[in-house]
């Protein structure tokens, strides 16, 4: 094809014209940057988060109509590592000039990236970071995911009072910020409750074989096994424990990481009786939640997990604040509006931010019964 000067001018003029038409609609939207781990070790969670966020964006934009406030999402992949997280945070803040960033998936990454956003005065809403020291980075950092400090005390209390557990063995991953934090909170709470810790066994990220650790645990005869693990690891731990002949009366108890349908799907019958402290339960009958679960399942062909739900809720929280701050184009005004979120009805329940900008809503304790998570206490 031969390009004449005239065609070039024509194309340039066309592009210019298109841009000028598109511009007003563009400015009517709120630009949200999403930083999820779509590749690397945390890809499972990042994928779920992207699905949850996309569903929320789709529904919000459809409901708002062409004249309402539209969400303009920009998705980036942090590859599960802080280095790439830093790159995409810089791109979103300085290049795309987003109003707010939702993410990143891992606490490990957040500890590096959120510092950049804080310095630039860009609000961040963490939707899956559960370790301490995230919102402490600065006054622009928020989160909608309940921390382990909130969830685990409920779980330990339930284990002691309702299940009569006196001695436990602990099994945890010590090369992941999240599982290690879960372990530390559990240890503190177990001590406080006067429950004896018989032994502490350690596994590594990506392990599939837990039988050596479980064989040692079996010989100590604990009342329960505390598993500070992510869902895949916990499925392996549950099924291998039962295979090794650890009876079902020895419960497996875990935190947020175990709250995934993947646990039940992958461990099957061996997951029965597992006690999981969490921020959200799929079977909650609140109308918002019921609709979310059915919409999500229809769109993606599988049920949502807690990560997808917290992403979905996060988009709604940001949108609410954006509406309250005249479209959210001003980052400072958007931050002020976020602070004012109180008793908002979300899929996670009635949601507010604490003074420290952490999530405040009811934590739950669940038990796996008949292949489902069932809420045991509130």
């Amino acid at each position: 094809m031969k390009l004449s000067v005239r065609t070039l001018i024509g194309v340039a003029a066309g592009v210019f014209l298109l841009a000028s038409i598109a511009a007003p609609a563009f400015s009517a939207g709120i630009k949200i940057g999403f930083v999820f781990s779509m590749t690397g070790g945390a890809a499972v969670y990042g994928t779920a988060q992207k699905d949850g966020a996309n569903l929320a964006i789709e529904q919000i934009n459809a409901a708002a109509g062409a004249n309402g406030l539209q969400i303009v999402p920009i998705f980036e992949d942090d590859a599960s590592v802080p280095q790439q997280g830093t790159n995409v945070f810089n791109k979103l803040i300085n290049g795309d000039k987003v109003s707010i960033i939702i993410g990143p998936t891992l606490s490990n990454t957040a500890k590096t990236t959120d510092v950049i956003a804080q310095k630039a005065g860009v609000p961040v809403l963490a939707i899956s970071n559960t370790v301490s020291g995230i919102t402490e980075i600065g006054d622009y950092i928020f989160r909608d995911s309940l921390t382990e400090d909130v969830v685990i005390p409920h779980t330990v209390k339930y284990a002691k009072e309702k299940l009569g557990i006196k001695k436990v063995a602990m099994l945890y991953g010590n090369d992941d910020v999240m599982t290690k934090a879960t372990y530390e909170v559990f240890k503190k709470e177990l001590h406080a409750a006067g429950i004896q810790i018989l032994s502490e066994q350690i596994f590594a990220k990506g392990d599939r074989d837990f039988s050596p650790q479980l064989t040692q645990i079996k010989a100590q005869n604990p009342d329960a096994i505390i598993a500070a693990a992510l869902a895949e690891e916990a499925s392996g731990i549950a099924s291998q424990a039962r295979q090794l002949g650890i009876p079902k009366t020895v419960r497996i108890i875990g935190g947020n990481g175990l709250n995934s349908p993947g646990l039940i799907k992958n461990a099957g019958d061996a997951a029965e009786g597992t006690i999981v402290g969490a921020a959200w339960n799929i079977s909650s009958t609140a109308p918002l939640n019921v609709k979310f679960v059915s919409d999500f399942t229809k769109k993606y062909g599988h049920a949502p997990d807690q990560f997808a739900t917290q992403a979905y809720a996060g988009v709604h929280i940001v949108y609410q604040a954006a509406k309250a701050s005249n479209g959210g184009a001003d980052r400072k005004a958007l931050r002020e509006a976020l602070l004012k979120i109180k008793n908002m009805d979300t899929v996670l329940g009635r949601f507010s931010f604490t003074e420290g900008r952490d999530a405040n809503h009811a934590a739950i304790v669940q038990e796996v019964k008949g292949g489902k998570f069932v809420v045991t206490s509130n």
Binding site: S211, Q213, T215, Q216, A219, G236, Q243, G245, N266
Partner: protein, 296 residues
């Protein structure tokens, strides 16, 4: 006592899986003298294909297993055609083949990621009988016994194949010297393709058993076993089939015992590779290696 016995059994079974993986690996690496770094990707792919056949096509595992194994073999043929055959005339074909096999590994892995997603998946409950024997305080599952049997049978069959059949001898001849093998009238390209087929099919079988045993399949599951496979081959002795199985068992046992004694899996790989190092200091050609017969 019961606890030690159980740990030994744990080590034996994980060792059989390593051995199975290494047997296919060593056919190409140890016998043909080509390092194929896409072996682990084929291992993963076959496991996921078998799962797909069981879950989506509704096949019984007894049918899905051979089908997925053959599929893995065909992937091996493709791998040979794309990554190794075009480079064979280059003087540096061993190294360039190694690099192009890394490329193929990435392509296979990305393919698995695209086709099956990043989620960790498992075979549906009841795919194989979950029968468990309790002998005293020791438990053994049917699947574990199956894996050990498959490993043992393959070891015997392959040893006979490589050592005593015409085709096996041709494979070894090519490993010694391709040019001489051609002069002897051996169909070099055909034999290499066949070896890739068998090697990849074995890798695939190991992937399916690995998936069935741990019930946790992800597109990157091959990475955890890739380096161990190489270590197992070196430990057992290059090109030795019984060596690969024995090396696998030694590796599995050292891993399990390390975890049992220290209570953490952080030292597991360090100890396993230290064992490898020490054994190589004592027996430089590996447990069952035959010294420098390949120098000719």
């Amino acid at each position: 006592m019961g606890i030690l016995l159980q740990q030994l059994i744990n080590g034996l079974f994980i060792g059989s899986v390593y051995g199975l993986f290494a047997v296919g690996y060593t056919l190409v690496f140890g016998v043909l003298d080509m390092l194929n770094l896409a072996h682990a990707a084929i291992f993963t792919f076959a496991g996921l294909i078998a799962l797909w056949l069981v879950e989506n096509a509704g096949l019984s595992i007894w049918l899905a297993f051979p089908l997925a194994t053959v599929f893995a073999g065909v992937m091996g043929l493709l791998l040979n055609q794309v990554a190794f055959a075009p480079l064979r005339k280059r003087s540096d074909s061993q190294f360039s083949g190694l690099i192009s096999s890394i490329a193929m590994a990435i392509i296979f892995e990305a393919g698995a990621l695209g086709l099956f997603g990043a989620r960790s998946v498992r075979f549906p409950v009841g795919t194989v009988s979950a029968h468990i024997w309790h002998i005293g305080s020791v438990t053994i599952t049917l699947l574990q016994v199956g894996i050990a049997c498959v490993a043992a049978i393959l070891m015997v069959v392959l040893t006979i194949f490589i050592g005593h059949t015409r085709v096996g001898k041709a494979v070894r001849a090519i490993g010694e010297n391709e040019r001489t093998a051609t002069l002897l009238g051996i169909n070099v390209n055909g034999i290499i393709a066949l070896t890739f087929f068998v090697s990849s099919a074995l890798g695939g079988a190991a992937g399916i058993l690995f998936g069935l045993y741990f019930n946790n399949l992800t597109p990157d599951m091959g990475r955890s076993i890739e380096l161990k496979g190489l270590a197992v081959i070196i430990l057992g002795g290059m090109g030795s089939i019984p060596g690969a199985i024995l090396g696998g068992l030694a590796f599995g046992l050292s891993e399990v015992l390390t975890v049992a004694i220290t209570g953490t899996s952080n030292l597991r790989d360090a100890v396993a590779f230290t064992v490898l190092f020490v054994i190589l200091l004592i027996r430089p050609s590996g447990l069952l290696g035959r010294g420098k017969t390949r120098e000719a």
